[in-house]
């Protein structure tokens, strides 16, 4: 995966994205997070063509118009980019193993009908892929205004052996408060929920190491 066209200012560093916003929509979260973590590369994935083009244009405009003169720190918004992609199918194509430290699922499509449940972004089979791209200790942030979906995501993540729930307070104590605040209110969807006086439910999980099974050969793993 060639990141030089996405993050030209970081070409020499050889960095890969650490934050990924799955279904980033109009880019609200990434735009809010970019200045907070100027050394961290972040990528939005959006399946809709028009929306991803909008975000593309928005990022270019931000990069050009908000230039600062201090050469020591990286230019603003050079660390954020978007790709038009189907994250459910091609996540592993974009991110190397254990390369992400944060994965965001903000207000995903609820797919209310039972027969559409398998299209939900959180599913027992997809969680394996998210666990693959997330490093151990990495955090999955989910938020939604649909309570049923919240319960669904929470129970699936909790049942998955490689994720364990982490409370909002603990994350805030670790200094991730600004991220959580951005998750709550920086996106268009989030603002719409507020306008309609809806409720938001946050569920965060940490990626943990798999438990070693007794008798299992570990030699293969050490070759990495």
């Amino acid at each position: 995966m060639d990141w030089s066209s996405h993050y030209p200012a970081f070409v020499s560093t050889g960095k890969t994205p650490e934050f990924a916003d799955v279904g980033c929509g109009f880019g609200g979260l990434l735009i809010a997070l970019a200045p907070m973590f100027p050394d961290t590369l972040m990528l939005g994935m959006e399946i809709r063509v028009q929306v991803s083009q909008y975000v593309q244009d928005r990022i270019i405009a931000l990069r050009t118009t908000s230039a600062i003169s201090n050469a020591a720190s990286p230019e603003p918004y050079q660390n954020v980019s978007i790709v038009r992609a189907n994250a459910m199918k091609f996540m592993p194509n974009y991110f190397p193993k254990h390369s992400l430290s944060s994965l965001f699922f903000l207000f995903p499509d609820p797919h209310f009908k039972a027969r559409k449940h398998k299209a939900r972004i959180i599913s027992p089979t997809l969680l394996a892929e998210y666990a693959y791209v997330l490093r151990p200790g990495g955090i999955v942030y989910t938020i939604t205004d649909v309570h049923d979906l919240h319960e669904w995501m929470k129970s699936h993540l909790a049942a998955f052996p490689l994720f364990e729930p982490v409370a909002e307070e603990d994350l805030r104590a670790q200094g991730k408060g600004p991220i959580i605040d951005a998750v709550y209110s920086s996106t268009e969807e989030g603002k719409k929920v507020e306008r309609n006086n809806g409720q938001k439910w946050l569920a965060c999980f940490m990626r943990i190491e798999p438990l070693r099974i007794l008798g299992r050969l570990n030699t293969h793993l050490h070759q990495e």
């Binding site: 593309q56 050469a71 978007i82 790709v83 199918k89 592993p92 193993k97 027992p124 666990a131 798999p210």
Partner: protein, 614 residues
């Protein structure tokens, strides 16, 4: 009289199992005697069997005690080989694509078209079944698998997000390697399939066959719609060796591979300017050494091996629905050009347009297997859906060697499947119902459904005549095991469906990204490229060159272009400001980003009046 072609053969030390259409037959491996057959079941049972349709997936356990089959009806049937007694019948959630049994014979593992792999106990415990079927909903652990419901209480091992074409369990059964239609090859723990060890990415088309050779258990061979076989070291950071098949697959009267090569090289040379294929696309992840090695090898072998594009025209009834193999063409030509050192990368669209006129061929690997032939070496053998040849090549012992040349043995009838038996013999099942390509007089060698092929000096040759008669199993397979079939039976068999079902319809005309870019008229495109070169901020995600679309741009696109122009205007303004300030500041041309930074420093000093130090 029409007969069912044999679709699968399992060779055991004492018993062999043959699958033909909906029927299963058990033979004695040495004498060839037909021991049991589902064709001889009495009325009611036969009717039930036939209702299940042709057997689509099957496997036997290591001890040849059980045979597991599944037909059109998604029912998983477990039979005892001895007596062909049906032990159990379970419903699968989706149509299966591959069935395997673990070495201990206790677990059946099934992959399906939805993309999941489930495991089931081989022996069905009726009491267990009853208790688990209650309490299926709610927030129980079962509830969290509601999206992957299983009517037979199978355990979800793992899932892909597209059709799972094939999987293997590694020899130590610690890992499961699975491949799907979205070009992924995934190595996961077994049975904890939710832990993904790694991906082997690099295929550009669906992957339909994977194989781990028993003599090289750390290597993986994969193939599919790409005209290459890829060899991976799946246990560590995968590096790949790419092997391009020589052939003319499809039909041809000319058995001689070498002549074919020459022919093809000329034809390809004549095609002239072509685009660089999608090899450059950033989807694959080939690490370090492997990537260079791969490119080198591709260039090296370009002279030796080409892939046939020329279908054999109207005679080729087997190919069915064929689609444009344009990608293949441009890849191939890329190899030629790489060698000839012609550079220019033109558009993919250009290449596709030119290639569209050519004959179109779809390639789908059916099965890959390996043979360790005493005294002759180690080989890989593979077959393709609809192809009349069996392909083989030497198994490369070390990655540094050039990829081996792929050779083929044309059997004149489409190869349905093959089984590698003891002593290096390969039993090839062919579709006798198809008309033969050549006009050879019908001798005995033409009318047999099962061919025996053996190794001679490192090449495959067919075993004919007197020698073949010593294999009574072979005779039996071709005579006593042949079961009659009606024309409608044969139609439902649909043996070559993979050619139409597996490829994805990636029609460049319908690629939404491309159309969007086309809508921007060339004016706007120039703006973009100027912007890129001036300010050094290429558009994130890159923009593709495209030919201008005939219709005008839509409102939305006009608005977008307007915005872009505004941004560019602002950038130009800022640049001009910088020009005025100091030529000294801008003189350093140490790279685009440095320049940009200097520009911005100057800009800040001048136009924004801030007190930032230079």
């Amino acid at each position: 009289m029409s007969v069912f072609p044999h679709s699968r053969l399992f060779l055991g030390p004492s018993k062999s199992v043959l699958i033909s259409g909906p029927h299963i037959q058990v033979l004695d491996t040495h004498t060839g005697n037909l021991l049991h057959s589902t064709a001889t079941l009495d009325g009611l049972e036969t009717a039930k069997l036939l209702k299940s349709g042709p057997v689509r997936c099957s496997t036997v356990d290591r001890g040849f005690t059980y045979v597991v089959t599944s037909g059109e009806d998604k029912k998983l049937k477990v039979w005892e080989v001895d007596g062909l007694k049906l032990l159990s019948e379970r419903e699968l959630p989706k149509k299966p694509t591959e069935i395997r049994v673990t070495q201990d014979g206790q677990t059946i593992v099934v992959s399906d078209k939805f993309g999941d792999i489930f495991s089931y106990p081989l022996h069905l415990d009726p009491s267990l079944e009853r208790t688990e079927s209650e309490g299926n909903t709610g927030t129980t652990k079962r509830g969290t698998l509601a999206s992957h419901e299983n009517p037979s209480n199978g355990t979800l091992i793992l899932g892909h997000t597209s059709l799972l074409t094939s999987f293997v369990l590694t020899s130590d059964e610690q890992f499961v390697i699975s491949a799907d239609r979205d070009e992924h090859v995934r190595v996961s723990w077994f049975p904890q399939g939710y832990v993904i060890e790694r991906y082997c990415l690099g295929h550009e088309k669906f992957v339909s066959a994977i194989h781990v050779p028993s003599f090289a258990p750390s290597q993986l061979v994969t193939g599919g719609g790409d005209p290459v076989l890829k060899l991976w070291d799946w246990m560590s950071e995968p590096f790949i060796v790419v092997k391009a098949p020589i052939s003319r697959y499809g039909r041809s009267d000319d058995d001689d591979g070498d002549d074919g090569e020459q022919e093809k090289v000329e034809k390809i040379g004549r095609r002239g300017r072509k685009g660089r294929g999608k090899k450059a696309k950033g989807k694959g992840k080939n690490e370090g050494v492997g990537e260079e090695a791969m490119q080198e090898q591709e260039q090296g072998e370009a002279g030796q091996s080409m892939v046939s594009a020329e279908g054999e025209g109207t005679e080729d009834v087997v190919m069915g629905d064929v689609e444009s193999e344009a990608q293949v063409e441009s890849e191939r030509v890329t190899q030629v050009q790489a060698e000839a050192q012609e550079a220019e990368a033109t558009t993919v669209e250009g290449a596709l347009g030119e290639a569209a006129e050519k004959d179109k061929l779809v390639f789908a690997l059916r099965r890959i297997d390996s043979a360790d032939v005493h005294g002759q070496g180690q080989f890989l053998v593979f077959s393709a859906v609809g192809a009349t040849a069996l392909f083989f090549c030497v198994f490369p012992s070390s990655p540094q060697t050039k990829p081996p040349v792929v050779q083929s043995l044309d059997l004149k009838k489409p190869v349905l499947d093959f089984t590698v038996g003891a002593g290096g013999h390969i039993w090839v099942l062919v579709d006798d119902e198809r008309p033969s390509t050549s006009e050879r007089p019908t001798g005995e060698s033409d009318e047999r459904a099962v061919r025996l092929v053996s190794w001679l000096d490192g090449k495959l040759v067919e075993v004919h005549g007197a020698e073949s008669k010593t294999f009574s199993l072979l005779t039996s397979l071709n005579t006593t095991c042949v079961l009659p079939a009606t024309a409608s039976d044969l139609k439902t068999l649909d043996l070559y469906s993979a050619l139409s079902s597996l490829p994805k319809n990636v029609d460049p005309e319908h690629d939404p990204m491309r159309r969007e870019n086309q809508n921007q008229n060339l004016d706007a495109f120039e703006i973009e490229s100027v912007a890129s070169s001036r300010a050094g901020t290429p558009i994130p995600g890159g923009s593709k060159k495209g030919k201008a679309k005939s219709g005008g741009p839509t409102q939305r696109e006009l608005a977008r272009m307007k915005n872009k122009k505004a941004v560019l205007a602002k950038m130009q303004e800022q640049e001009q400001a910088k020009m005025k300030v100091g030529d000294g500041a801008g003189a350093e041309l140490g790279g685009v980003t440095d320049e940009e930074r200097e520009n911005k420093k100057a800009r800040a000093a001048d136009s924004e009046g801030s007190v930032q130090a230079l």
